[in-house]
């Protein structure tokens, strides 16, 4: 009896694992749990114990022992208003900042999306191409541009473009602190909103609106009763994702946190706070506490998101079968709106690059008579750097080594993340509706919601853990972190692409006895090539321009181009940091252009799906 049962179990197991989709599901569930969930636990534990001698000294509790001291001190300590200043204020202000940036992103991106998909606006191609530039650029670019543009001598910050051209000096609160942070993040994520909302608008059947027109609904009513409710899930998703990205954004608040403490514009965001706590050996545990708080925010957000999008009013009927879309005629306003949009879009996409070029070529900011190529070509050693850099970035061996390392890292990360994404997509689409499939796709998306800094912190904590110390500062660690952090885009893209293929396409190959890997490489991949390539492209670009994720992890011998940039910026050599930034942007834009032309892959496919 039991023998039969055993045999039956064995047979079932064998049948289960004879299907590639099942193998992939199990494999990746295990892999992701090890790579994502376990480090999260490490972090959680790290926030409840004493991490190292310095912390032991600081708290007076022996190293390694269990404690709630970190939580208690950071969240409740009234000594010198410690909790208020170190935690509650930054958290509250960061929330406000994120809300404001959501408003900017959704307002700006959503408006452009509507004009592009639903109106007869001219120059659509130009606008839609250029509009996504700020999203392709590193996140801090907008911040650097903002500073370059608005800084002025009245606040002791050198002459910015605005002052140079018009002589206007804006107050410090416009240049540094809360307001510019919110604006820069909003502008950076506006293309993201545009891609998400535009995707839904484009896929939304125009008949849905026309049916309302025929039933005599007014324009306003159609917008409020039909269009908006249908776009709402995308809108909410955008708000939530932008909020979660903004609140954990590190680089922008870091770059724009230069005002003097006394001016009142001093703005320490929660993520900047986390970094400084973790970097100090005395308060690592408290830094982990913030990381966990940020993660709880993100988890709450994904839950909310699922709740909003997963209701009865399924939007599966939003199919986009009708080919004919009647575009809203803008009439006389057409040209005016077009010109305004072109100017705004070009300003935020192209001006940053112009400003980086300018800044890198002028000894004294804003003064054209001080033109110099020094910061590109000089071989003079750079005093501020302790690593022996040269002032001219193109001559700096360290810069080039870092660039090469960044490239290699991005390439490997994109290969791993992209391939994993396709495999996950395959498994999820095959086991659609099953618990395992939804668990897999949820866990694969988890890294997106873990703030880059926290994700870095997770692995940092891991690399300090016994048995994993060999990871500390290694290239492999960077690869591991990058591959998992950027997998969500790839797995989303892969899943969407696979879901679009009907099962029959693969079955037709199964019938002819084609082995699994051949079906993947010869049938499925070629059909959805451009989508899958997007799944490779996005991790590459994201990794190339990523800083927050690696800033905690990169050791001196694993520096990346972004950490070199940060080094130049920290030591005040803004010309050189502008030059590097320009280099990265041009590099990423060129790669994205070439890949797009060669394979049809594009970042909107990656994000919008």
């Amino acid at each position: 009896m039991t023998e039969i049962k055993k045999q039956k179990f064995k047979n079932n197991l064998k049948a289960y694992f004879s299907k590639p989709a099942n193998i992939i599901t199990v494999l990746f569930l295990v892999l992701l749990i090890v790579a994502v969930v376990i480090p999260l636990f490490t972090l959680l534990i790290g926030s409840f114990k004493i991490n190292g001698n310095q912390e032991a000294l600081y708290t007076g509790i022996p190293d390694g022992s269990f404690t709630i001291a970190h939580w208690k001190e950071l969240l409740t300590s009234k000594d010198f208003d410690y909790a208020q200043i170190k935690f509650w204020d930054p958290l509250f202000k960061s929330c406000l900042m994120s809300l404001l940036s959501c408003l900017v992103a959704v307002g700006f991106g959503g408006t452009v999306a509507w004009f592009i998909t639903r109106s007869d606006l001219p120059f659509k191609k130009f606008i839609s191409t250029v509009f996504v530039f700020p999203y392709i650029m590193p996140a801090w670019s907008m911040a650097m541009f903002w500073e370059n543009f608005f800084k002025n001598t009245a606040i002791n910050a050198g002459k910015g473009i605005l002052q140079a051209v018009t002589g206007i000096c804006v107050p410090e609160s416009v240049v540094y602190g809360f307001f510019p942070c919110a604006m820069c993040l909003g502008l950076h994520y506006a293309p993201f909103a545009y891609i998400l909302i535009g995707g839904i608008l484009r896929n939304m059947d125009a008949n849905l609106e026309e049916a309302a027109t025929v039933l005599k609904a007014s324009r306003l009513k159609i917008l409020t009763r039909v269009t908006l409710p249908i776009v709402m899930p995308a809108l909410i998703s955008t708000v939530l994702l932008v909020f979660s990205s903004s609140i954990s954004a590190f680089t922008v608040p870091f770059f724009l946190n230069k005002s003097s403490i006394n001016s009142g514009n001093n703005f320490i965001s929660i993520s900047v706070q986390m970094r400084s706590l973790i970097n100090s050996g005395f308060t690592k545990g408290q830094g982990y506490v913030i990381a966990i708080v940020l993660m709880i925010f993100s988890l709450a957000i994904i839950t909310l998101n699922n709740w909003f999008t997963g209701k009865r009013k399924s939007f599966t009927t939003v199919t986009g079968k009708s080919g004919q879309v009647s575009l809203v005629k803008l009439g006389k306003a057409r040209m005016v709106i077009a010109v305004i949009l072109v100017v705004i879009v070009a300003f935020f996409a192209i001006m940053p690059m112009v400003s980086f070029a300018m800044e890198s070529l002028l000894e004294v900011p804003g003064d054209l008579s001080t033109f110099t190529l020094k910061y590109w070509l000089s071989t003079e050693p750079f005093e501020g750097s302790n690593k022996g850099d040269t002032i001219g970035i193109l001559r700096s061996g360290i810069m080039w080594a870092a660039m090469g390392r960044s490239l290699l890292l991005s390439l490997l990360v994109s290969l791993i993340a992209g391939t994993f994404g396709i495999l996950i997509g395959y498994a999820v689409s095959h086991k659609r509706g099953s618990k395992a499939a939804s668990l897999l796709s949820d866990i694969a998306f988890l890294p997106y919601l873990i703030p880059a800094m926290s994700f870095g912190a997770v692995y940092l904590a891991l690399s300090y853990t016994k048995g994993f110390t060999w990871l500390d500062g290694s290239f492999f660690l960077l690869l591991l972190v990058g591959a998992f952090k950027f997998m969500p885009f790839a797995s989303r893209t892969g899943t969407n692409a696979m879901l679009q293929l009907s099962g029959e396409i693969e079955e037709a190959a199964v019938i002819t006895g084609t082995p699994w890997w051949k079906r993947m490489t010869r049938v499925l991949f070629p059909i959805q090539k451009s989508s899958f390539m997007s799944g490779y492209l996005l991790p590459f670009i994201s990794c190339m321009r990523e800083m927050s994720l690696f800033v905690l992890l990169a050791a001196s011998y694993t520096t990346l181009v972004t950490t070199v940039l940060q080094e130049y910026s920290r030591t005040g050599l803004t010309q050189a940091s502008n030059a590097i930034n320009l280099l990265i942007i041009v590099f990423v834009l060129v790669i994205q252009y070439v890949v797009n032309k060669l394979t049809g892959a594009s970042i909107d496919k990656g994000v919008g799906g």
Binding site: E210, A211, A212, T213, L215, S314, T317
Partner: protein, 370 residues
């Protein structure tokens, strides 16, 4: 009342002409079908009348009102044209319940609450979907969604109802049922129906008049039986009827205004028309509906090529002089392949098409000479 007049209506997408110089009058309470192969411009035509698409040129009148005139720059919005539109994929709003979907149009007309309630209930009963009132579209089957879409379209009592292949997403059985219901609805609602389809059987069975379009050009606009019996040209003859009409190459010699000698299938026949020929060309295509070819007896002979019994009737394919001739026979019969059979060409429905212009120029009966 709403008589629809299209005058010289043309629609171009860039250089591509989707509808060319269309002239058409749709009388009040007619049931018109726009019929033609996929991509011929049916949807575009319908959407132009409804106001969802702007014609490049022309004039459209609904009732006494000019709703579009390119010369005078008139272009009424769909909302002002007093029409209903049933979309091919239903276009039900996914975020509204069945009730809300149907009530929406009535709200726009500012109907009082209780009247809306009454009308929606009435529609729900009429379409037999009362129990789905509180459901969302995604929770309904295709056929149920279809009924909701019809209810939503009919609720405001439009004078003209446009339908774009409304049944193409349904299975064959449901499609038949819905056809009957649509025909009943037409009688019950007193409205004018304009219906787009690429299914010739659907067009023939539903319509009071059929409008055949090919590549944006009107081919024939006539009652179904006329389209069937007197196709205006080879395209119409080929598109309408199943099995399709026999179209045989031939040579004609005019004797007088109503008589001609025609050579085809290796025979010479006398062709006799009741009315004078509209024109004449020696190169002809002889069109004979399969039901006019009677097998078993007659002066002609052919060899059995295939028999396709369908129960009620049987399609018999004959090889005659290296050409295939299709004939219909009532009841189920079977023949041996290759067997020689006699046949006759009966009736006065044999058509002569001009082989160059493809237009029909004569119809009549044939008698064998040799």
């Amino acid at each position: 009342m709403p008589k629809i007049i299209l005058e010289n209506v043309t629609k171009r997408f860039d250089k591509f002409v989707a509808v060319e110089n269309l002239n058409m009058v749709i009388e009040d309470r007619e049931f018109i079908t726009l019929l033609g192969p996929s991509g011929c411009g049916k949807t575009t035509t319908l959407r132009m009348i409804a106001g969802l698409e702007t014609p490049t040129e022309g004039k459209i009148t609904i009732g006494d009102e000019v709703v579009f005139d390119s010369e005078r720059g008139i272009n009424l919005s769909p909302a002002k044209r007093d029409i209903g539109f049933l979309f091919q994929n239903y276009a039900l709003w996914p975020h509204m319940t069945v009730y809300q979907n149907i009530a929406f149009g009535l709200e726009n007309l500012k109907w009082p609450k209780d009247e809306i309630r009454k009308r929606v209930t009435e529609m729900l009963q009429m379409m037999k979907i009362e129990e789905f009132e509180k459901r969302y579209p995604s929770e309904l089957s295709g056929g149920q969604q279809q009924r909701v879409a019809i209810a939503r379209t009919l609720a405001p009592k439009p004078k003209v109802l446009f339908m774009d292949e409304p049944l193409s997403n349904l299975d064959a059985k449901l499609r038949l049922e819905m056809r009957t219901e649509l025909k009943r609805l037409h009688v019950d609602t007193d409205s004018t129906f304009v219906y787009v389809t690429h299914d010739q059987l659907e067009a023939m069975t539903l319509a009071t008049r059929v409008c055949l379009i090919k590549n944006g050009l009107l081919q024939q606009y006539a009652p179904p039986l006329e389209v069937y019996n007197k196709p205006a040209n080879l395209f119409v003859a080929d598109f309408v009827g199943n099995p399709t009409m026999n179209m045989l190459q031939g040579k004609a010699k005019k004797i007088d205004d109503t008589h001609a000698e025609v050579e085809f299938l290796g025979h010479k026949v006398k062709f006799e028309s009741e009315v004078p020929f509209a024109s004449f060309n020696e190169k002809v295509v002889v069109g004979i509906r399969p039901e006019f070819i009677q097998v078993d007896e007659g002066p002609y002979e052919g060899e059995i090529y295939a028999t396709l019994p369908a129960g009620m009737e049987t399609t018999v394919k004959l090889e005659v002089n290296k050409e295939i001739v299709t004939s219909m026979k009532f009841g189920a019969v079977d023949y041996q392949y290759g067997a020689k059979v006699k046949f006759d060409i009966t009736g006065s429905g044999v058509i002569l098409f001009d082989a160059d212009t493809t237009d029909r120029f004569a119809m009549g009966k044939v008698t064998l000479i040799k």
